[in-house]
């Protein structure tokens, strides 16, 4: 069985898995990192959105072999210990989450967006295609705007 070494949330890990095992299952089933959620498995719902070398990816369609030697950040690695990331703080401020299942992915997508553009327009925010079945979109929009405004 091939082995793959990469970092997850700052820690170096090695997993033994077929090259084509989706990273999502390496994280969830082999490493017990369960913040990234399964919602579709085909990069449609984007609930599993995490970062690979700082870029938003969907681990459900990233083969574990592609993560080798790279930095994976999941929702669990976003906060600095107990100090939340400003986007997480904005999510609390707007009380965004309902069922919460999509929110790790929404937050990781928002963090990536704000990295690309510090002051996103409504059109930029519209491009986040993550599904929220509870329909919290408006609060997500407000939270992203609030985080952007605070980062000034």
């Amino acid at each position: 069985m091939p082995s793959h070494t990469f970092t997850v949330n700052g820690e170096t890990v090695t997993v033994e898995a077929p090259d084509d095992l989706p990273l999502l299952w390496a994280l969830r089933d082999l490493l017990g990192i369960r913040g990234p959620k399964y919602g579709c498995g085909i990069d449609v719902c984007k609930a599993c959105t995490s970062h690979l070398d700082g870029e938003a990816v969907r681990p459900c369609v990233v083969p574990v072999s592609e993560a080798a030697g790279r930095r994976v950040t999941t929702i669990e690695g976003l906060a600095d210990g107990e100090k939340l990331h400003p986007v997480q703080e904005a999510w609390l401020e707007q009380d965004v989450a309902q069922c919460g299942y999509c929110q790790p992915g929404q937050i990781m997508a928002a963090v990536a967006l704000l990295k690309r553009t510090s002051n996103p327009t409504d059109a930029d925010i519209d491009e986040i295609a993550n599904v929220c079945r509870c329909g919290t979109y408006f609060r997500i929009r407000e939270a992203i705007k609030s985080a952007a405004a605070k980062a000034g």
Binding site: A17, P18, L21, P22, L24, W25, A26, R28, D29, L30, G32, R34, G35, P36, K37, Y38, G39, C40, G41, I42, V44, C45, A47, I75, E76, L78, A79, L84, Q88, W91, L92, D95, V96, A97, Q98, C99, G100, Y101, C102, Q103, P104, I107, D122, I125, D126, E127, I128, A129, N130, V131, C132, R133, C134, G135, T136, Y137, F138, R139, I140, R141
Partner: protein
């Protein structure tokens, strides 16, 4: 044991080392509302007693099982006999407890209760009923605990309890002595404190209840710490997925390559169950590959030849004709179709099961766990007393988790495979073999003369909604499963009649339901019959207004029954600047809805410059749900209802083709995304009467009406079939 009563409530002290109290609720009197104006419409059943009332009455004898415990650290533990699926119920309940105890909200811990059959009707999460049914008993329970804690302090200090005050979980005497709840808890549990008068606070005394409050689980939800079913660490539990048939309710005839699949990497077991062929593996990725690799010969399902066209024809044929009218009667008519809609919660159907020879333990998101427990016990051949069913906070429901199919499958696979398993449905299976809101057909006719509406008739035909989950207990579930669907049909009529009503004085008003028994996986979908039924009526209301030469808001004002309803409508008209100028291809639309002792109005603006790609750009909602526990949570529910309405009115539905939905994922089932959602949403909560009304489903029907009416006005069309854009714009996944 100390026992005391005030009004209809009895509170018991439960034997425990620290304070634990339980409260019993008696029957609540029903007070019918009054109506006046226009040509009065006689009360419909739902005006007199709605489904929520029935549930409250049915659950009354067991409501005393609510248990609240105060530990030595002063933390308050409350076991909630309901499911949290994102509706914010745990927060609302924690607020009630904190309020009555005068203790900080973060000292309250709410745990979802396991299935408890002794609760009978009192462990069903549905019908927008949880706050309504729990508001009084939870407050009484917490008030009783507070009274005992204060009495314990008074006893210690030799003072009169009436002279003591409580702030932030600390009891204070006039002389400055203080004692925390934690320090008093053991004494409060053991002392004979004599009869206590328990009186929950009046609404005017509330300092927390009624204030916008963030979710108690918000931090867990944004850090990935929230534990859903498949995030649980149950030792040894292995991933499991099921290969499902090519048509709904298809059966397994034979597995043709079992040995080859068993030899695939990570595969641990292959097990045939009633609903398909299950694969157990080391990872879900491997289970998914293996179940896809299975070569299975399938037997027929229950609706193999059936497609949308046939279903629509059957519904249309089943919709009763409207009464014959003379040629001079003026009327407005409409015939409507609504497609099937998947519940599609983001967390797919899932469960963890550990079934042993002598006992079983199940974890799943369940809104009707008592029924689940009985069904699982029967399926695995254990007495129900040996089956523990844990209710896990879930990633959405919208009615889906009234059913326990994943839990049942997981239990059967665990038993057959002889190991604990974690079972997950794929998204494609969840969409195709999951539950759906039934397709419906509607005939509506209103007659009018001299500026008045004389009659309003609505005939609904719907594919049978499966209510076999009953009211949450095994007895009613069994009644709903009587042969020939008789039980279920009676249930459906009761539910229709106790939920659907018209808010207007439209003269003689009749609303009837005819169910067409087609064996598909249907189920209650947020607001059950009301989204389509009342949504279609709101469209006819706009057309009636136009016929009578009246503005849609003015017309509704004139015919709504109560001042309370008109205040809600006025609020959106004012805040939404009803009638303001908009560019060509844009329009405003309004809708109104009243149910479960709550009412709401919704005003939207739509950009339909491209009629195939309309976008709701702005929404203003007002709601009066009576006493509001958490305005912030209520706003979240209304926002969700709005998004549901935008989705199902404009683009989201399921096509049935030869016995299976064509759609298989969110790339095909077009639930709204950020780009489809308004950039401006204002929600106004109007504080109403003392009693809380239902709120979880309220937001959908009014918004359906508003979106459809805005679309009609923007495009100059009369939409009759929903969703309005419903092309098969994708290549379906293989069956």
């Amino acid at each position: 044991m100390s026992r005391h009563s005030r009004r209809r409530f009895l509170t018991y002290l439960v034997a425990a080392p620290t304070l634990a109290v339980a409260t019993k609720l008696g029957l609540d009197a029903y007070a019918p509302g009054s109506a006046d104006a226009a040509i009065p419409t006689p009360p419909a059943p739902a005006d007199l007693v709605d489904l929520g009332d029935l549930l409250i009455l049915a659950g009354a004898p067991t409501a005393h099982m609510l248990v609240l415990r105060v530990d030595e650290e002063g933390l308050v533990h409350f076991r909630l006999p309901r499911e949290e699926v994102g509706q914010g119920l745990t927060t609302a309940m924690a607020m009630l407890v904190a309020e009555e105890l005068d203790t900080p909200l973060d000292h309250v811990r709410v745990r979802l209760d396991d299935a408890r059959p002794e609760l009978l009707f009192n462990q069903l999460t549905g019908s927008s009923n949880s706050v309504r049914s729990l508001y009084d008993p939870v407050r009484h329970t917490a008030a009783a605990a507070r009274a005992r804690l204060v009495r314990a302090a008074a006893r210690q200090w030799g003072l009169d309890a009436q002279d003591l005050t409580v702030r932030r979980g600390v009891v204070s005497a006039p002389d400055g002595r203080t004692a925390s709840y934690g320090s008093l808890s053991a004494a409060a549990a053991s002392l004979d404190l004599g009869p206590l008068v328990v009186r929950p606070k009046k609404a005017s005394e509330h300092t927390l209840v009624g204030t916008p409050t963030s979710r108690i689980d918000a931090r867990d939800l944004v850090t990935g710490r929230q534990v859903y079913t498949l995030d649980l660490d149950v030792p040894g539990a292995k991933p499991c997925m099921v290969r499902r048939p090519p048509t709904i309710n298809g059966t397994v005839k034979s597995v043709n390559n079992e040995a080859a699949v068993r030899a695939m990497p990570g595969v641990l077991d292959v097990v045939t169950i009633d609903t398909g062929v299950a694969v157990v593996a080391e990872t879900f990725g491997q289970a998914l590959d293996a179940k896809e690799a299975l070569d299975v010969s399938w037997g027929p399902g229950t609706v193999d030849g059936l497609s949308d066209r046939d279903i629509r024809a059957r519904l249309k044929a089943a919709t009763p004709s409207l009464d014959l009218l003379g040629p001079l009667v003026k009327k407005v008519e409409g015939e409507f179709d609504f497609a099937f809609v998947g519940h599609a919660p983001l967390e797919t159907n899932s469960a963890v099961a550990d079934v042993r020879a002598d006992r079983a333990e199940i974890w799943s998101g369940l809104k009707s766990p008592i029924v689940a427990r009985a069904a699982i016990a029967e399926a695995v051949g254990l007495p129900a007393s040996k089956v523990t069913v844990h209710v896990v906070q879930a990633g959405g429901s919208f009615g889906r988790r009234l059913f326990h199919d994943a839990a049942l499958e997981a239990a059967v696979v665990s038993k057959k495979s002889g190991r604990p398993i974690r079972l997950m449905w794929s998204r494609i299976d969840d969409t195709r073999h999951g539950r759906m809101r039934p397709a419906t057909h509607h005939r509506i006719r209103a007659t009018y003369a001299a500026g008045q509406v004389l009659s309003f008739q609505h005939r609904v035909a719907a594919v049978e909604t499966d209510f076999r989950h009953g009211l949450g207990d095994a007895l009613t579930a069994a009644a709903a499963s009587l042969p020939s669907g008789i039980g279920n049909a009676t249930f459906a009529q009761t539910l229709f009649l106790t939920t659907v009503k018209s808010p207007y004085h439209f003269g003689i008003t009749t609303q009837t339901l005819t169910e067409v028994p087609i064996r598909m996986h249907t189920g209650s979908w947020r607001s059950v019959y009301s989204a389509n039924t009342r949504g279609a009526e709101e469209i006819i209301v706009d057309e009636l207004a136009a016929r009578l030469g009246k503005d849609p808001v003015t017309f509704r004002r004139e015919f709504l029954r109560t001042a309370r309803q008109r205040a809600v409508l006025d609020k959106v008209a004012e805040e939404g600047q009803w009638g303001r100028a908009l560019p060509d291809g844009w329009a405003q639309g309004v809708g109104f809805h009243d149910e479960y002792k709550s009412c709401t109005a919704c005003l939207v603006e739509i950009d339909a410059t491209d009629p195939k790609k309309p976008r709701v750009t702005r929404a203003v909602i007002a709601a009066d749900v009576g006493r509001v526990v958490n305005p912030r949570g209520l706003e979240a529910q209304l926002l969700g209802g709005l998004t549901d309405a935008i989705s199902t009115t404009l683009r989201a539905g399921l096509h049935i083709d030869k016995g299976l939905p064509l759609e298989g994922s969110y790339s095909q089932f077009h639930y709204a995304r950020q780009k489809d959602s308004p950039q401006d949403v204002r929600i106004h909560v109007i504080e109403g009467a003392d009693e809380p009304g239902g709120a979880g489903e309220l937001g959908v029907p009014a918004a359906v009406g508003a979106v459809a009416n805005a679309y009609a006005r923007a495009t100059g069309t009369r939409p009759r079939s929903f969703p309005v854009t419903f092309d098969v714009d994708f290549t379906p996944f293989p069956r």
